[in-house]
């Protein structure tokens, strides 16, 4: 994707190992909500149009709100937090580049999609994985 390459953000500095126990703990605190949301999603794709990033990216399915929460918090939950840094970096690109957390996603079944995406942001941040918007040369 051209627009992806152009907006690519630098990875954060921290390179220490991922604390999977901490991720698991954060997931456990919201276990009920994550589990039931994943269950309630009938994979219908009807939330797609509610996301302006979907409509403005030539309707690329990766920008659908459902796709984003399933491949971020959903993925972390399925792996029970046992992920490596590369995986967290992929999730970082989904939850920061592909979503601006405008909270306008509209799920027909009432799933709190922004809540789940913001949880993935918190988890990434807890491991020092977040976008670095420093202008090059500034640091």
């Amino acid at each position: 994707m051209l627009d992806r390459a152009l907006t690519e953000v630098a990875a954060s500095g921290k390179t220490t190992a991922v604390d999977t126990a901490e991720i698991k703990h954060m997931l456990d605190r919201h276990k009920a909500k994550i589990k039931i949301s994943l269950r309630a999603c009938v994979h219908c794709s009807l939330c797609a149009e509610s996301c302006f990033l979907y409509t403005s990216h030539h309707r690329d399915p990766r920008y659908m709100p459902a796709y984003k929460f399933i491949h971020s918090t959903g993925l972390l939950y399925k792996k029970k937090g046992k992920v490596d840094r590369a995986c967290l970096e992929k999730i970082r690109d989904i939850v920061w580049q592909d979503c601006v957390l405008c909270t306008r996603c509209y799920c027909i079944c009432g799933i709190d999609i922004p809540g789940l995406i913001s949880l993935a942001r918190s988890i990434c941040r807890s491991q020092g994985v977040y976008p670095d918007f420093t202008v090059s040369g500034e640091r």
Partner: protein
């Protein structure tokens, strides 16, 4: 043998599992969202993101804007089909003459039944809606990107009792085999409701009406514990 099992004990097993599983799922869901909070958004849903227009536009203006911005406005065809699909899913079996004769024989009462010809047409219509969902899931990239085996499975569970019932009514293939299959598939669907994604039947109402969020229908105040 299988016929007797399917029309006797298995009906009860399926029914009990369905009721027990459903009660369990709903009570657990309510327990998990027991905590309530004052309205987080500080406004009623009427003034929420779907209103999207100025008060000067008046009531009808607000409603057309609301409809246009909702999924009925963005995906009218799918919403239309899904409303027909879900309505028939409940109404056709409930008001089918053959079912009501069985109920009458067993308990001495029955619901009102529609003409058999009408049930036949409605079954066609239902199967067409199911086919629409199948094609949509197979052909549209946006739906394919989200699909898993279970999505096909629940669609199969919804459509198979209708298809087999249709074959049995018209005595296509061996009647006894088809009707046995029809009963087994119906029982399988019933037990699957609380334990698969079909549980969206309960989750939908709790999440949309009772849990607080930006698009709540009604004034839900429940929050996750």
């Amino acid at each position: 043998m299988l016929y007797n099992l399917a029309q006797g004990p298995l009906v009860w097993v399926a029914f009990i599992l369905f009721v027990a599983g459903s009660v369990y799922q709903v009570t657990r869901l309510l327990a998990l969202t027991r905590k309530t909070e004052a309205h987080r958004w500080g406004r009623t849903p009427d003034a929420g993101p779907l209103s999207g227009t100025r008060p000067a536009d008046g009531l009808s203006g607000r409603w057309t804007a609301r409809l246009r911005l909702s999924i009925a406005g963005t995906q009218p065809l799918t919403i239309g089909v899904t409303v027909i699909f879900h309505t028939l899913l409940f109404l056709v079996p409930l008001f089918l003459l053959a079912h009501n004769i069985l109920v009458d024989e067993a308990w001495g009462f029955s619901l009102f039944a529609v003409r058999e010809k009408l049930s036949d047409y409605l079954t066609w219509l239902f199967l067409a809606c199911a086919l629409f969902f199948l094609l949509r899931r197979m052909l549209l990239a946006r739906v394919r990107a989200l699909s898993s085996f279970q999505d096909y499975y629940i669609l199969f569970l919804a459509a198979a009792p209708f298809a087999s019932g249709f074959l049995a009514y018209h005595q296509i293939f061996d009647y006894r085999m088809v009707i046995t299959l029809h009963m087994l598939l119906g029982e399988l669907m019933l037990v699957s409701i609380p334990f698969t994604r079909i549980a969206h039947m309960f989750l939908f109402f709790v999440l949309r009406f009772l849990v607080a969020h930006e698009y709540s229908l009604g004034s839900g105040r429940r929050v996750w514990r």
